[in-house]
């Protein structure tokens, strides 16, 4: 029996220390670059996922055929084959699996082809770990929680559809950027989010970014104030002047 994330959340409400082993999400990393594969693996293990890796097309092909995964991170350019072919294989099998393509090629054609073949997201290298986390969580949520588009952590409920924040069922007004930032932090709970990752997430990618860290700092200050005064059980902690972490308080 496997538990869904929803059930896991339900259990953890009653048993805060409850560590779900059997219900952990299974993720397969298909990436030929060992260093990158290791880094992603370490990061995902911190998120309590069960992680398996494949360094080439053949291994990946076998693993996909035998096992079932909740999410597959797929590099398009593999030494012995194309990730696109793997994607076709995945779609042929009846398993419901989420695929996020990670590619060094920021090509619109590849992106479109990947998404058409059934990939759920497309992430261009290099990416921030926080961004990968957020994408994985978003993808998992989209498929597992049938239509329910909210993030619920502690006494916080973030409605992604209406873009509203509730603390203890009380509506806390946020501006657009504050909402994006909070959403990003909630997807990266207990993880470091660097200011650059945050700035990129908030402002998008294609910019010659003037240093808007001041602005980020200002938004975080406001967000903190709002969370504190609303009595939220989550707070933002500065990490060595590099970034922030959302933790329970």
């Amino acid at each position: 029996m496997r538990l869904s994330e929803k059930d896991y959340l339900y259990f953890s409400k009653f048993f805060p220390k409850f560590q779900c082993i059997i219900c952990a999400m299974k993720i397969l990393i298909i990436e030929d670059e060992q260093d990158l594969r290791d880094a992603i693996e370490i990061s995902l293990k911190r998120e309590k996922y069960m992680v398996e890796t494949a360094a080439n097309f053949q291994t990946a092909y076998e693993k996909i055929a035998v096992y079932e995964y909740d999410c597959i991170l797929l590099d398009i350019m593999l030494p012995d084959g194309s990730g696109m072919d793997l994607l076709k294989e995945i779609q042929k099998s009846d398993k419901v699996e989420n695929v996020i393509i990670i590619s060094a090629k920021d090509s619109l054609d590849d992106k479109l082809e990947g998404l058409e073949l059934g990939a759920d997201d497309y992430l261009t290298k290099p990416f921030h770990i926080a961004e990968l986390n957020a994408r994985i969580k978003a993808v998992l949520r989209r498929k597992k929680l049938d239509g329910k588009n909210t993030i619920e952590i502690a006494n916080i409920v973030l409605d992604l559809g209406e873009r509203q924040l509730f603390v203890d069922e009380e509506l806390i007004p946020l501006n657009r950027k504050e909402f994006d930032i909070l959403n990003y932090f909630l997807l990266n709970k207990n993880r470091l989010v660097t200011r650059t990752a945050l700035a990129e997430h908030v402002w998008g990618d294609n910019i010659d970014q003037a240093d808007n860290f001041d602005f980020i700092y200002y938004q975080i200050k406001n967000l903190r104030k709002k969370l504190q005064s609303a009595g939220a059980q989550m707070g933002l902690q500065a990490v060595y002047g590099v970034g922030y972490k959302m933790i329970e308080v």
Binding site: D106, L192, Q209, A210
Partner: protein, 423 residues
């Protein structure tokens, strides 16, 4: 100076020399012939007179020319022995012309019985100065008629012959290496022009190859850097996340992380730039620029509020452009972000959308930027290290791709203007 006119200068000089020499030679020959004929006439006349003198003694009474063409006087035998037949040019007063005119005179001696006589016979001859003048004008006319004919022939014939050359020249002038220009082509059977065409085509092919290799290199290099950058970035992020670092170490790593991230940003911008230049974006749709501006402004709203920047949009017209939506977003958001990020607190951004022209002005406190360099890669105004210096280069590349005219001018405010192509 056109080749046509240059050859004309040489030709006219040469013709002038040839015609001058020819006219001198011709004149002398002609004169010689005239003298020869006159002298023969005089000689014949002399014999006739001498013959007549044998029968008619009245001949000896003609001591002056008067109405006839000869004069006779008696001379001593000593004198006669010194005289030989001589021809000479001399002048004589002509009643009809009331002037001295040149005449040819033959002086000879003959014997009649025991007496010696000197006989002078004259004949009127051409006036040399008149002749020269006439000749001069004739030559001058000939010369001018020759030159004019050459000019006309040159213009008609040579221009027709050179037509393929000018056609090729025009095509070369309009050839742009960064656009998909067609190879210059001319239809001609002239060997020189065919060779010229082949040579230019070979040159262009080599240049195009080098150009695309260079572009390819930049793109490949940027691509190859993506993975190592991803590794460095992610490893540092993981390292800093560990809780066993001292504050100092963590801060150092934080700084390195930021440098890696700046490198990443730079690499991404370069990649984007080379992708634009390689025309890898071409999903053009009809797009309302006004809407793109509104959307980008919404995105910047909070930041503008934070810096208390007042943004005014004046849009008397709508602009519709065939453009790739991703590129349109990058184009306009880069310009707007530029205007907002570089602005001073409580500054102003003025956006004007009029017919075919989008202008974005800001009150940044920096001095006038260098118009020549502002859109060049890695141009930085005031040593700002945090910028890649590629934002405006990207804007320029997009404008080049779509033939939009991008300009910068400064009058109290920094204004960037895009003139979209006419429909």
């Amino acid at each position: 100076m056109k080749l046509l006119n240059q050859s004309l200068v040489y030709l006219s000089i040469c013709i002038l020399i040839i015609v001058s020499i020819w006219s001198v030679v011709f004149y002398n020959n002609m004169l010689e012939e005239v003298y020869d004929s006159v002298d023969d006439g005089l000689d014949n006349y002399k014999y006739l007179i001498i013959k007549k003198s044998k029968t008619d003694s009245t001949v000896f009474e003609k001591s002056a020319f008067n109405e006839s063409n000869y004069a006779i006087r008696e001379i001593s035998p000593q004198e006669a022995s010194k005289v030989e037949d001589t021809y000479k040019d001399t002048l004589m007063y002509m009643q009809s012309e009331e002037d001295l005119e040149p005449v040819r005179e033959l002086t000879t001696v003959f014997q009649n019985g025991s007496k010696y006589y000197e006989l002078r016979v004259i004949s009127s001859i051409v006036e040399e100065d008149d002749q020269i003048e006439n000749m001069f004008w004739a030559i001058l006319w000939l010369y001018f008629i020759l030159i004019i004919s050459i000019v006309i022939i040159n213009n008609i014939v040579l221009q027709r012959l050179w037509k393929p050359f000018y056609k090729l020249l025009f095509q070369l002038k309009t050839f742009r290496i960064d656009k998909n220009s067609k190879m210059p082509d001319i239809k001609t059977s002239t060997k020189e022009f065919v060779e010229l065409k082949n040579a230019t085509n070979t040159l262009i092919k080599h240049t195009l190859e080098a150009y695309s290799n260079q572009k390819q290199f930049i793109e490949n290099a940027a691509h190859e850097l993506q993975t190592p950058l991803a590794i460095a970035n992610n490893k540092l992020e993981l390292l800093i996340e560990k809780n066993d670092l001292s504050q100092n170490n963590a801060e150092d790593i934080g700084e390195i992380l930021q440098i890696v991230q700046r490198l990443t940003k730079l690499n991404k911008s370069l990649l984007l730039l080379s992708k634009i230049e390689n025309k890898q974006f071409f999903d053009n749709i009809d797009l309302a620029i006004n809407e793109v501006v509104q959307r980008c402004l919404e995105d910047l709203e909070e930041f503008a509020q934070f810096k208390a920047i007042e943004i005014t949009v004046d849009e008397p017209d709508s602009i519709f452009v065939e453009i790739d939506p991703t590129l349109a977003d990058i184009l306009i958001s880069n310009l707007l972000k530029n205007a907002v990020f570089h602005n001073k607190p409580e500054g102003k951004v003025t956006i004007n959308i009029s017919k075919n022209v989008l202008s974005i002005c800001n009150t940044s406190p920096s001095d006038k930027l260098d118009e020549q360099k502002v859109f060049k890669r890695f141009y930085k105004n005031t040593g700002e290290q945090k910028h890649t210096g590629l934002g405006l280069a990207i804007v320029q590349a997009i404008c080049n791709l779509y033939d939009f005219k991008l300009s910068y001018h400064f009058a109290d405010q920094h204004c960037f203007e895009i003139q979209f192509a006419e429909d």
